[in-house]
Symmetry: C2
Subunit: 246 residues, 2 copies
DNA sequence: CGTCCTATTGAAATTCTTCAACACTCGTGG
DNA sequence: CCACGAGTGTTGAAGAATTTCAATAGGACG
């Protein structure tokens, strides 16, 4: 990994706060030279937020972009009558915010307790103009988000309730542990979302989600510990269910 | 408009094929200098394709990217058992294809008869590396697509059948004529999609689409000419229906 | 121990789909 | 010029899936 190499060489030049930061690998900060990191780090503030906190509006400083350091952020759309749909989940080290253009009527909310690393918008926008590689990283993130959104459109539009729930669990598996996908042993997953959020993600009601989770458990495909985590017992079967019901 | 100005000054230098091309304004070619346009135009081929033609695989040359010059392209996902979902519609002057990374398991198909302007992948990728502004344009298109995808996720996940159909018609209005949005007179729209496509876009069956179109007609919100076009009689009412049913 | 929040389960109601029949349009060939 | 057939769209009635309403249960926390 080339960024790893650069890290070894220039370790001494990299700002302390950035040294162990995940965003410097997969995130957009990986595009920056040590000198740029240094400049950026001068304006950086690290913050923690509790679950359900609205990050788009009520963030202490509205003129700020952030990297996610830990936790899960949900992006939501809300209708006038209160119906809502989660349209994206973001994990570390995703970048939060859209430079140069107001993102549409989207609400960002902490789905779990989270940690952020925030920067003033103007600083990011300045560095972006100087560093095409950084826009490229952001572009890559947006393309990933687009692919995920489109996968989800298939799920929302064409899958049944049990297929949706199975797909959701598989999405978590792939996100939380991209490598262990092919392992034989059971996979334990901590659910970052509560039932109401899962329902809003899947376009279902919480009752239907609950029923289908039970359904999967009775089929022996998953097992349940406490309410916050599940164990994938049979991943192959889960994939079959996700794509063709049963 | 600054690109307009440049056009006036450098008209003589711009390749003939590009002179009246829509992609040079809103499209990615707008990022290019006349000299780059000239180089690109040497490798350019214009083609026409009939409705339903698969553009992703069976395109004569698979190593090609394209600009859409006219017509509508649908991006689709298909499940093993044949269920399918349209996850994006692209209009002129959108760019078709994803440089540097294979786009996921997506099928691009002509929703209407279309015209394309195609280039070899390697030429595009070379120019992209030299011209950050071009990647920026592509990035902008992808952000628009992401916004549209997320709007659609709300529609797919949370709206009723009649709300979906109303939303679809409004989407067409905004796409086909972004300006006339606030006009008083009736808006006539030619439907670029047949019922089966609309159903695949909305996550419904063709029967339900048909019923809800009839429904909107009976409410006096739209009127119908031939089968290929509809007239929006009451846009405000249509928006109300799209967002809260009735 | 009681309260709030979250999750589960059951029964009735609703929406959408499925199945089936029919109508319209357009192009082709008799 | 008309008839035919394929492709497309409409309409009705029955069926299935999900939602809604309602009641209950489990945990966390003061």
């Amino acid at each position: 990994m080339s960024s790893q190499k650069r890290q070894d060489i220039h370790n001494s030049e990299i700002p302390l706060v950035c040294l162990s930061c995940e965003a410097r690998h997969g995130g957009i900060c990986g595009a920056l030279e040590p000198s740029q990191l240094l400049e950026l780090s001068k304006h950086t503030t690290r913050t923690a937020h509790e679950r359900d906190k609205d990050l788009s509006v009520s963030q202490s400083d509205p003129d700020v972009f952030s990297n996610i350091l830990g936790g899960v952020v949900k992006l939501m759309k809300i209708m006038p009558d209160g119906r809502q749909q989660i349209v994206g989940l973001q994990f570390a080290p995703d970048f939060l915010g859209r430079p140069f253009s107001d993102s549409s009527d989207l609400i960002a909310e902490a789905a779990t307790d989270i940690r952020l690393c925030s920067f003033p918008k103007r600083v990011i926008e300045k560095i972006l103009k100087e560093t095409p590689e950084m826009e490229h990283r952001l572009h890559e993130q947006h393309m990933r988000e687009l692919d995920e959104a489109r996968d989800w459109m298939l799920t929302l539009g064409r899958k049944t309730a049990i297929e949706k729930v199975a797909s959701f669990i598989l999405m978590l598996v792939s996100h939380i542990d991209p490598e262990k996908g092919s392992e034989i042993a059971d996979i334990e997953i901590s659910l970052p979302l509560k039932r109401a959020d899962i329902a809003d993600y899947l376009g279902l009601t919480i009752e239907t989600v609950s029923r289908q989770v039970t359904n999967l458990r009775k089929k022996g495909v998953i097992a349940i510990n406490d309410r916050k985590s599940i164990i994938v017992v049979n991943k192959d079967r889960l994939e079959t269910i996700a794509n063709q019901g049963d």
